[in-house]
Symmetry: none
Subunit: 254 residues, 2 copies
Amino acid sequence: MNAVNKPIIVLVRPQLGENIGKAARAMLNFGLTEMRLVNPRDGWPNPSAGPAAAGADILLDRAKVYASTADAVADCEYVYATTVRKRGVTKPVVSPDEAAHLFHTEAGRHAVLFGREAAGLETEDVALARRILTVPINPEFGSLNLAQAVILVAYEWARRLRETSGAASELVQPTAEEEWLPPAPQAELEGLIDHFETLLAPRGYFLPEARSETTRRNLRSMLTKPGWNHLEVRTMRGILTTLGRKPRDDAVKG
Amino acid sequence: MNAVNKPIIVLVRPQLGENIGKAARAMLNFGLTEMRLVNPRDGWPNPSAGPAAAGADILLDRAKVYASTADAVADCEYVYATTVRKRGVTKPVVSPDEAAHLFHTEAGRHAVLFGREAAGLETEDVALARRILTVPINPEFGSLNLAQAVILVAYEWARRLRETSGAASELVQPTAEEEWLPPAPQAELEGLIDHFETLLAPRGYFLPEARSETTRRNLRSMLTKPGWNHLEVRTMRGILTTLGRKPRDDAVKG
């Protein structure tokens, strides 16, 4: 990979404009420039954000607003959900330094989700992510604010960039480029999940209703895990289309 | 060195009590506990510090106040002067991660000096230091506040502590054992692949015959990639069984 890969910082339902500004400032200190906002509580633009950005207004001017987290990451190959503590989810957990390593070594668009102040991310936001980014903090005193969580991610990105651009990189990289493709963008993964659901629902797979949500979450989590690339997602969709058909009597067996 | 070596955070002539509280909070997030204050502008204790510390009051209660920077570091073997940019001084310059490495490897008391908001350290404070600790920030936009500079030093100290204490990397593996299962045994994977083939063949998926081998290889490769565990393989087989059924008219949709 030649170009520098910058993660996109996605603030999900942020509350105070001031904190959005501080997050922008934290980002720009270490050279991150793309911010996305999902449903900011007080609308956008927000007059309180600019002063808190302390000169990082350009990030705010360029910030795009989305109606849902899924929309905000639709074009991203790698999605990380930031939490300060581990959650009961079966996804890989990475620290900020490990995440930074991945930003620089995995070609594709990386997006890091940050939840709103205090409450953090909702379960359905976390469900979109391929990985959990956890800042390991003092178990007896965890009190990171939004801009601090953002600055640690930005700092590690810059630190790893210096490391990798300085000395010869010891990082493992796929060798033959033509044999390796990044995971499909999130929108394609969503299409695949929809396809499964569309076929499964009329066959009663999501019954009983009381278990439906858990069943859907498990399905999503299982399909998110592989990191299938564009071709693989397309192949799986072809399989689903085929499975939707009736068996043909004249087909060659085996 | 056996004991954990924690650097002492020294705030030199800090102005706002609120910023002292925020620095304490930043420290405690990563387990640093000793703060020293040199001539705080508004005296000490400062009623604005407590609320900003958000529960890290114990650090403030224990903070010692000194009349000069020299007094504050008199018992310290290693003194670092923090600056956001390099100065024209002939001292070794270290980054936060290099400093953290030194905290853990050089036995003795380490003190890190932070200057007052905006203005930073005076030349005579820097003169006391053995080393310059510089946070490498965006040369076109440097706007770290006091608590952010402190949190980066504290974060790096904790990160290096995990590294040196041999904490296994969590990279690409969830930690809690009950939440993580190894990939299913090969026999289960074979069972899954067979199941796919059994459903797909009579629907003509492996036609034309000339492409059949490649199609099977792609299918196998795609299903091998995820490393699904026992439960996930079982779930996928349940999905296949469901897809083999006809849609039910009475099924609850979506």
